[in-house]
């Protein structure tokens, strides 16, 4: 048993560090400039550090898959607050194009997407198609001359809708075909008159998602990815590409570190809150869960690296972390007491987390959907005839 990445990777890590040191922060010190980001990412691609899974032909660096190197890169880039060339929506559409796109589509879209010249929004959910995606209604009809798609309908929970220039979405192209059939995967320029993007304000006051309305919006016929009516299979592959377990786990770890810091800072009955037996014990209990998540994730990653089956844990991290985040934010609430209501106060971050821990249980498949997946895939229970969940 060995937890470190092993010395064979030390060399790689120092190379990466040097590279970052040399290229970030940028000479002009402007961390926000797209140009600087772009230059850094291109240099990263040169070195084989970024877009590693993408062929050189489409602007990637075409490196053999290596979970450890990928993780080392993630760690070092995060530490240096340097761009990783990862833009959420884009990370979802590129693999799809690679798997299903025509050569023209690959040539045309992948490189600019990797450079971040194009930003993609995901258009899947609809008001009446949440967990039950297959019941979506937004429809696209081919124009008489067959040159373009005319799109009408509404999308919701669209990520980055306000920043995005384009959208990859699921639309119904075969109205008469049964539920899952009849859906196609389309690319759409959303900076056009027929498209209205309306940000959705969340209870935290943040605007992470949008509603997008299509009113005779248009997109060229060749913006169809995969076969007409086969959009469902195309998405399946999209959903595979998600954050690695380690990233997830690191997120919880940093949230927990903040919690410990909070418990040390805040006074309660004349001593740091962390000395209060109930808070102290709950904090330790949370740490026990977190250590479970952490080391089971290392175990899973190791199994991945060595091509062993991860087993039942595979389906669990999301719900586990969601419940843990709720537990963490409740303890934070107990510590901050009065500050828990002050949205301009020093503890705002904890108020937001108290709420966001809930959206985690909704975004990308509600916790109940996750439970259904665990029941079927990990526990091997017979398929559920009632797979339902609220979202």
């Amino acid at each position: 048993m060995e937890l470190s990445f092993g010395s064979e990777f030390d060399g790689f890590r120092s190379e990466v560090r040097e590279f970052i040191k040399a290229n970030w922060p940028p000479a002009d010190g402007n961390l926000k400039s797209h140009e600087n980001e772009r230059a850094f990412v291109l240099a990263g691609v040169e070195r084989g550090y970024m877009h590693r899974s993408i062929p050189k032909a489409y602007g990637g660096s075409e490196q053999p898959a290596d979970i450890i190197k990928a993780e080392i890169l993630r760690e070092e880039l995060t530490k240096a607050r340097a761009p990783a060339g990862r833009i959420p929506g884009n990370g979802l559409v590129v693999p799809v194009l690679l798997e299903w796109g025509t050569e023209e589509q690959k040539q045309k879209w992948i490189a600019p997407t990797l450079r971040g010249d194009i930003i993609w929004a995901q258009g899947f959910s609809e008001p009446n198609a949440g967990s039950d995606l297959a019941s979506l209604r937004t429809k696209a009809e081919l124009s008489a001359d067959g040159s373009k798609w005319i799109i009408n309908g509404q999308k919701i929970w669209t990520t980055h809708g306000h920043k995005a220039t384009h959208m990859f979405c699921l639309v119904r192209t075969e109205p008469d075909a049964p539920k899952h059939a009849g859906i196609s995967y389309l690319l759409v320029d959303i900076r056009q008159p027929g498209v209205t993007v309306r940000p959705l304000v969340q209870m935290t006051r943040q605007k992470e998602f949008s509603e997008v309305f299509f009113d005779n919006a248009e997109t060229p016929a060749d913006m169809l990815v995969g076969e007409r009516g086969k959009g469902w299979n195309v998405t399946r592959s999209t959903l595979k590409h998600e954050r690695s377990g380690i990233a997830t786990m690191t997120w919880s770890l940093s949230m927990f570190r903040d919690l410990v810091k909070l418990a040390k800072e805040v006074e309660r009955d004349g001593q740091p809150a962390i000395k209060h037996p109930r808070i102290r014990e709950e904090l330790a209990a949370i740490e026990g869960q977190l250590m479970s998540l952490t080391y089971s994730t290392y175990r899973a990653t190791s199994h991945d690296v060595h091509g062993r089956d991860i087993g039942t844990f595979q389906t669990m991290p999301k719900v586990y972390m969601t419940e843990l985040a709720g537990r963490i934010s409740k303890l934070a609430r107990d510590i901050v007491e009065n500050d828990f209501v002050d949205m301009s106060g020093e503890r705002l971050k904890w108020i937001e987390r108290f709420m966001i821990s809930l959206s985690m249980s909704i975004a990308g498949g509600t916790s109940n959907i996750q439970r259904n997946i665990i029941a079927e895939r990990s526990l091997g229970l017979p398929r559920d005839k009632n797979p339902g969940a609220p979202a």
Binding site: S125, N128, G130, S131, D132, S135, I156, W157, L200, V201, Q202, M203, R205, F209, R278, G326, R333, D334, E337, N338, D339, F340, V341, D342, M343, S344, G345, I351, M355, L358, S359, S361, I362, A363, T366, S367, N368, R371, N386, P387, G388, A389, P390, A391
Partner: protein, 357 residues
């Protein structure tokens, strides 16, 4: 045994609920909620409640009130909580109670009629610093007050403020020269302010020392009642949504997993009704149990309410997380009920002390 509401009480709840149905629909609450800067309260709704006699409920008859009990006030608080009503009820009711409990005859004669009719608006300034909610933690004192108070409901709009002090309770009038800063509070249905006093003229209420604990206990009961109303509404809102929302070709209410989650919400909520009833009744009729019951009610119901609002978000999925949906109005009201007067943990430990454990 007769542990239920009288015909009169049922009638009272009905009329208040009907009024709220007409004048306090969610859209209206959202409107109030959406103007952060000057979030104050719904004055039209408040005056309608005043016309109905709500502020007069616990004012003695000889001072123009109805001479009723805390139970009556509490069942109204439940109705207001159910509607997340944006009115200055909490501070006003407590200020009124403070004067009837602790005021001199002159003070009562001067203020109670105005408070009963709603011509004057009152509130209470209790907390000092981040957690100084209890009388023994109050430091301001004397006929001229210096110091500060936090989380004071609607202070900016109030004509008089009852301030918790080392002497007990003191009365400060609007414009007596203290500074008011409105907090950017999560719950915009009941805005709160931070007050800074510097040598400000105040009238001591003669019986304030004895009355301050009674006042705290009454506040706990009213928060518990408000919490019950809100939680119960969240449960029925979630149940209704489950019956109406369809996924996979059927109402999601058909999914047993969700059904059990809804059942858990109802199990947490419904039985707590008896606890707040008892706390209110104890305040009126069983003095030696009153403080203990009040703290238990505040702890259990504000805790339950907040959790139920979280469950409500999950029961609604994404829509329940949006600003447009009602859920966050309830969650944020629950957040204030949770923190105001001290966290559940504080009140459980108070109850434990009072139980002589």
């Amino acid at each position: 045994m007769n542990f239920l509401l009288s015909e009169e009480q049922l009638a009272l709840v009905d009329s208040v609920s009907n009024l709220l149905r007409d004048k306090c629909d969610p859209l209206r609450v959202h409107k109030i909620f959406d103007v952060p800067g000057d979030a104050r309260f719904d004055s039209e709704l408040w005056s309608a409640l005043c016309d109905m006699g709500v502020p007069a409920l616990i004012v003695p008859e000889n001072h123009g009130g109805l001479g009723l009990e805390l139970v009556d006030l509490a069942i109204v608080a439940e109705a207001l909580g159910r509607a997340v009503a944006p009115v200055p009820f909490l501070g006003h009711a407590l200020a009124t109670l403070a004067i009837s409990l602790a005021g001199s005859e002159a003070q009562k004669a001067k203020w109670l009629p105005l408070l009963a009719s709603g011509e004057a608006l009152g509130t209470v300034a209790l907390c000092e610093g981040k957690g100084g909610w209890m009388p023994e933690q109050w430091t301001l004192s004397g006929a001229r007050l210096t110091g500060s108070k936090t989380l004071v409901p609607n202070a900016a709009e109030a004509d008089l403020i009852i301030v918790g002090t080392a002497d007990g309770l003191s009365l400060v009038e609007k414009g007596a020269g203290f500074s008011i800063t409105r907090v950017d509070s999560a719950d915009r249905t009941r805005p709160v302010d931070t007050l800074a006093f510097e040598d400000v003229a105040a009238e001591i209420l003669p019986e304030g020392k004895a009355a301050s604990t009674r006042l705290i206990d009454a506040a706990a009961v009213l928060l518990a009642a408000d919490s019950f109303g809100g939680a119960e509404h969240c449960v029925s809102m979630s149940v209704d949504y489950a019956k109406m929302r369809e996924q996979y070709g059927q109402p999601i209410a058909a999914f047993q997993g969700l059904r059990y989650q809804l059942v858990a919400m109802a199990l947490a909520t419904e039985p707590s009704r008896g606890l707040y009833w008892y706390a209110a009744h104890a305040w009126d009729a069983i003095p030696d149990k009153s403080s203990h019951a009040a703290s238990q009610a505040k702890a259990h119901l504000s805790d339950t309410y907040l959790q139920v609002t979280r469950d409500t978000v999950e029961a609604h999925g994404g829509i329940g997380f949006t600003w447009e949906h009602d859920t966050h109005l309830y969650m944020k009201r629950a957040m204030l009920n949770w923190a105001w007067l001290g966290s559940p943990s504080r009140h459980r430990l108070r109850a434990a002390d009072l139980a002589g454990w």
